[in-house]
Each structure stands twice: as structure tokens, then as C-alpha cells.
């Protein structure tokens, strides 16, 4: 055996170990685009929130005591739930951003999988999706239940936290760098929970800025 042959053999072994256990066809570009969609979504959401009567009552009227602001913001349980009229368009924006990001992610992954010679719908992508969807669906349902009771304040922190948990759980089945993004999202979500009223700002950072930074890093590290 020549040195080149052995080297080829070792390279093929390493690549197989990776391709068989991890879905390495996630594209950095889709991370960047998801971040851009999120920032566009937040801009629209910001306009809606700013014109919302409940928001004005909270932040426009300084006569309101801190306690009543907190009560208004977090809602006060089933009986005292304040139904904000803007919640429907906000949810719509969030769903549109999610759908656009997923679609972009899927299309770019299919493209990259073809290049990598990795099946798009195989053992690794199934494991990745399953491990990601458990925290995501749990968090999504919990948020819907709480929104239904008027606790709007939990939306920003809990969406960031559950998304972070989903990323960490998924990171065993793709690039391990995803884990760091997950940790950052969780930290951001916890900080957001301490600072009510800045939800949209935290969303812009967590889903917008962090995705763009992460996507760029991944793009330069793996896509080129």
C-alpha cells in the first residue's frame, strides 16, 4: 500500500463516520436568511405593537403603577386576562417567519445533501428532526396554552428558551457548533424573562442577529 492509498482510506473512514451519524447538510446560508426574515418580521411586529392600545396603556401612561404594569404585561390568570387585539397579527408574522425559514432551510439542505452524497430523508435527518421537535412542540403547546390565558409576557423568553433546548438536543446529530447557538438562545431567553417589555428586542437579537452570525460562521467553516 502506498502512502496516498492509506491516506485516502483514512479520509474515507472519517467521512463515513461523520456522514453515517450526523446530518452535515445543514447550510450556513439558510441560517443567515432565517436571521434576515426574523429581522424583517420584528420590524413589522414593532409597528403593530407600537400602535396597540394595551402597549400604550403600559408604556405610554406613566400614571400606571409598576405593579399594575406587570399585571397587565404578564396577565393575571384566566379571569383577568387582557385580550390584546394585536396578538393575532403578531402570531401571523411569527408563523410566516417560521414557515419562510423552514422552507429555505429545507431547500438549501436538499441542495447541499446532493452535493455531500447524503440522503436528505435518511437515518440522520430523521434523528435530527425528532430530537429537535420534542422541545419545540412542547414549548409551542405550552406557549399557546399560556397565551390563551393572557400571559403574553412569556412569549419572548419561552420561545427563545425552548428553541435553545431544541438546538442543544439536535446538536448531537449535526455540526456540534449548533450547541453554542443553543446555549446563547437559552441565556438570552432567561435574560428576557428578567426584563419584561423588551420581548421584541430579544427576539430581534435571538432569532435575527444570532442566526446571521451563526450562519456566517457556518458558511465560512463548512460551505466553501
Amino acid at each position: 500500500m502506498k502512502e496516498d492509498e492509506i491516506r485516502d482510506e483514512l479520509t474515507s473512514i472519517r467521512s463515513l463516520m461523520e456522514r453515517s451519524s450526523k446530518f452535515i447538510s445543514l447550510s450556513g446560508l439558510s441560517g443567515i436568511l432565517a436571521g434576515v426574515y426574523a429581522l424583517i418580521g420584528v420590524t413589522f411586529a414593532w409597528k403593530i405593537v407600537f400602535n396597540d392600545p394595551m402597549y400604550r396603556a403600559l408604556y405610554g401612561n406613566r400614571v400606571l403603577s409598576h405593579e399594575s404594569k406587570i399585571a397587565l404585561y404578564y396577565g393575571s390568570g384566566p379571569s383577568g386576562a387582557l385580550l390584546s387585539p394585536s396578538i393575532a397579527p403578531l402570531l401571523l408574522i411569527a408563523l410566516l417567519v417560521l414557515a419562510a425559514s423552514l422552507l429555505t432551510g429545507i431547500i438549501l439542505s436538499i441542495r447541499k445533501a446532493k452535493k455531500n452524497g447524503q440522503p436528505v430523508w435518511g437515518k440522520t435527518s430523521k434523528a435530527l428532526l425528532f430530537n429537535m421537535s420534542v422541545p419545540l412542540i412542547t414549548g409551542g403547546l405550552l406557549m399557546l396554552i399560556l397565551i390563551n390565558r393572557g400571559y403574553y409576557g412569556i412569549i419572548a423568553p419561552s420561545s427563545l428558551i425552548f428553541y435553545g433546548l431544541a438546538l442543544i438536543s439536535a446538536s448531537n446529530f449535526t455540526f456540534s457548533d449548533v450547541r453554542y447557538l443553543g446555549i446563547l438562545e437559552i441565556l438570552l431567553g432567561l435574560i428576557a424573562a428578567c426584563l419584561p417589555g423588551y420581548g421584541l428586542l430579544f427576539w430581534a437579537v435571538g432569532f435575527g442577529v444570532l442566526h446571521i452570525v451563526y450562519g456566517s460562521v457556518m458558511y465560512f467553516k463548512y460551505d466553501r
Partner: protein
């Protein structure tokens, strides 16, 4: 030099066998069809190499049914993992030796 070549495992002389083993050391279990897709080999080719590895007691076979379809899973044995590691070490040694020569 001769000594080093003898350390290479005869069971892994074939490339497909070595590839099967490298998949099975990083995954608890792998099924026949996923393995076929990943390695891009024919049914008969893959089956014969799996038989060969099974004979060496490097892998274990688990047969079950998914609905009505048979689903065969493979798992690396301790003996197989050890043999794989020794083989890789031997390959590395070979590279190092050829570099110094």
C-alpha cells in the same frame, strides 16, 4: 516494514468491510437499507461482506419486523471494535514509517 503490514487485519482488506465497520463503531445500530444507501453498493455485495464480518464475530445481527417488512439491524461487537481500532493504528503507523523513510 514487514511487521507493520502483518498487523493489518485481513478481514478489513476489502474496502466495503472497512467502511461497514467505520459506520458501526459510531452508531449503536445501523439497518441494512441505510447502510446500502450510504455505501452505495448492491444488495448482494453488501450482504456477502456483512456475512464475512459476522463470521469473524466482528458484528451482531438483529432481525425484526417493521409491520410486515423484515428489518435487519447490525451492531459492532467489542471484538469488532477492538479489531477496527488496531487496524487503524496499524494504518497510521504505516504512514508514519513511510514518512521517515
Amino acid at each position: 516494514m514487514k511487521v507493520q503490514f502483518e498487523k493489518l487485519d485481513k478481514a478489513f482488506e476489502n474496502r466495503v468491510r472497512l467502511q461497514i465497520m467505520s459506520v458501526l463503531v459510531v452508531n449503536d445500530r445501523y439497518d441494512f437499507n441505510s447502510l446500502k444507501e450510504l455505501l452505495d453498493v448492491t444488495d448482494g455485495n453488501l450482504a456477502s461482506h456483512l456475512k464475512g464480518l459476522e463470521k469473524e464475530e466482528y458484528i451482531m445481527v438483529h432481525k425484526s419486523f417493521l409491520g410486515r417488512k423484515p428489518n435487519t439491524n447490525y451492531e459492532a461487537t467489542e471484538k469488532g471494535k477492538k479489531a477496527f481500532k488496531l487496524h487503524l493504528d496499524a494504518l497510521e503507523q504505516l504512514i508514519k514509517q513511510q514518512k521517515t523513510n
